[in-house]
Amino acid sequence: MKGAVIRLLLLMVLLAIISRAQVLRADSGTPVMLAAGALLLCGLFAGKVAKGLGLPRLTGYLLVGVAVGPYALGFIPNAGVKGLELVKGLAVSLIALVAGTELRLGLIRRVGARVALLCAAVCGVTFLVCFGATFAIKPFLPFLADMTVPQALAVSALLSTVVVSFSPTVTIAIVQETSARGAFTEFLMALVIIGDLLVMVAFALAAGLTKASFGGGLDVTELLGGVGWELFGSVVVGLVLAVGMLVYMRGVKQELPLFLVGLCFAAAEGGTRLHLSPLLVSLAAGALIANLDEHAGERIHNAIQQAGLPVFALFFAAAGAGLKLDSLLTVGPAAMLLVVLRGVAIWFSCRRFAPADDPRLKRYLWMGLISQAGVTFGLAALVSRTFPTFGPQVEVLIVAMITAHELVGPVLTRRALAASGEIRADDAQGTA
């Protein structure tokens, strides 16, 4: 670990020198590649340091991103971090593809109903708690204070829907890192994935109600059409991608990691532009492949592990660099209240509603549900774009919550998997 610390420090010294040298130049060029190289290298060695300290590598990636990013030491300009959006989409697609290969029909038959029930309970309780709290502190939230009661109720519902969401990305990355396998891990992964599907539907409904409460009218057909397109359209596109992958794997048999990276890149970019969910597209593709051809599913799993290390290190370090630490100061108290309430609600609902046949679920499952990342970021940005009057302030509040959740979530997820006794290897290569 000492070697990794020295290497990390030297990298940061080099970044400091580059950052100082830029001050001497009257005009600077684009910082995207600088951000990519710096975050990739810093992330990699910070992951090693984190592992040496007994933390998930992912926490190392995130923390070093925060440190060198524009809101702390400022070695990497904000424009550089924003330019890495494409990498973020790619990483989400790759992670979802791996997760999809885990979704076998047998597993869905075995735990599907129980997971769906628990998911509904956890999401329902968390939503009610956050909704009540947000409405209760209406006078203290500047964007809610001047709204009428129906409007405040609708916006509280919208905010709470986003707050409920989980992070399949973080969960799957930690599972990959630790090579965890077993009933508890399967249950956790299935729950965060189904939870996100539930949140997507709920978000569309809440957004429709909010629009109506501000006089925009409620077009049920459009609302259902939008939700249906996002869910079913994503699945259909995912199935088409799966067929393409199978044809390639059977016909070409070469350069699979490169092909998968290219395809996931296309899924991420194309999915976003077609208003589909890139996560769901890749998830469906992975699930179909694993259920049609188990061997092909394993090949994809191994291929992404090869290509995964740089993509995941860069993705999470960039996510860390994008965390707006200053937002914690402006909306800190409200955000922290919601963070605590969300945590308590998840803990309570898991203790109360988790299946009794596996005591580990009652004790440790809640820890795996704390993380928030890509999906929550996406929904917050959507709120900001859809409701320009109050949306940006809601986004700041949500980003402040994500900051807190990203820092503690991965540690708790790893602890949950360790406590469940399903961690097999601590140094799986090529992953988070």
Binding site: M33, G37, L41, G80, G270
Partner: protein
Amino acid sequence: MQALLVFLSIAALSLLASSRALDPGRFPALARLAASGFLFVLLGIFLGPSVAGVLTERHLEAMRPVMALGLGTAGVLLGLNLEPRLLRLLPRSVYLSGLAHSGTAFFFVALPLLVPLVFTSARGLLGAVGAAAMLGAAASLSSGHSAVLAWRAGRLDRARGLGVALLTMLDDAVGLGVLALALMIGAASNVGEGLGLVCLALLLGVMCGALLAFLTHSLKDLAELTTVTLGGVVLVSGAAAYLRVSPLLAGVACGATLAVVGGRTSERVARALGRVERPVFLVLVFLVGCAVHARDYWAWVLMPAFVGLRFLGKMLGGRFARRLAQQTLVLPPRLGYALIAQGGLALCLVAEYGMLVPGGLSRRVLDVVVMGAVVNELLAGQAFQYVVDPPRSLSENPADSEKVAA
């Protein structure tokens, strides 16, 4: 979305280029262009703003980081190929021979083309000198891939093939040296500041190279080594692009430092980087092709002069080179014909010049060199026939057999 389409078309063309569709027996010229990557230059010219307009100037501006990455990668690979021990062992006559063929082509092109450039330049004599020097630098470069391929195919004996390859490696130094001088003249408001920027690029490369050597030292896992190598290359290219200095020169300094201080690690790094060399090169030459302004009529006027003067320079330079190295290297009788192919570094030089030196003159230099390089690549296939099938009177030299044996 257009950028995505472009990447997908590159992938499709890449598959096509490696398939049987481009059979050298049926379409030799097309197969040659595909193998050397110049087909992607033509694709870039076609899709770029001046022809089909699929990619606009705005898209190209957004893709500048990718271009910087390509130039940085090319630079690092070039620097890594420097083997200090081997270079120290080479006798002076080999260096003189390399300088002779590249220098002759340089002067044959730069001096005559300076005249029209002075008359069409809006940046005065100094700007025209810089542009003419870049044309000369691009002309001085030759690619040794034909010689190496001919040797591997058994059409050229090993000593001759390696002799040609060695000479073409040495001319890279001339090209890079002239690029540094041209950037000093053109990339800043005065020569002193230009010198400072070139030194900054080299210093940045040295620091990144030393750091990369330290980071990769003792890394045993291949995935980690590849990741750190890629990260290092992206970092040096990105830092150079951010500071608006040359990614190519910074990359060369980085690779050379790694080769000097990295020991055996540098070989592993070179292997790791070799895995992405081809795709990165293809994307780079595609973007260089996109930057060509096919409707610049002055460029079309200058291009035949560039190709013709370079051809003459290489013929005469080849003779000088052969004479200077006759005691130390075994070279083919008609060496000049083996030096016609221009290679990718010429494109890198003018792309770098176009990125860092503003104005229409640097753009014209790019147009002339890129179009000229495609023509030279097509000519090279025919010209090399004279190297592998020389007249008997020229090929039978008893002294050569003694040197081959030695």
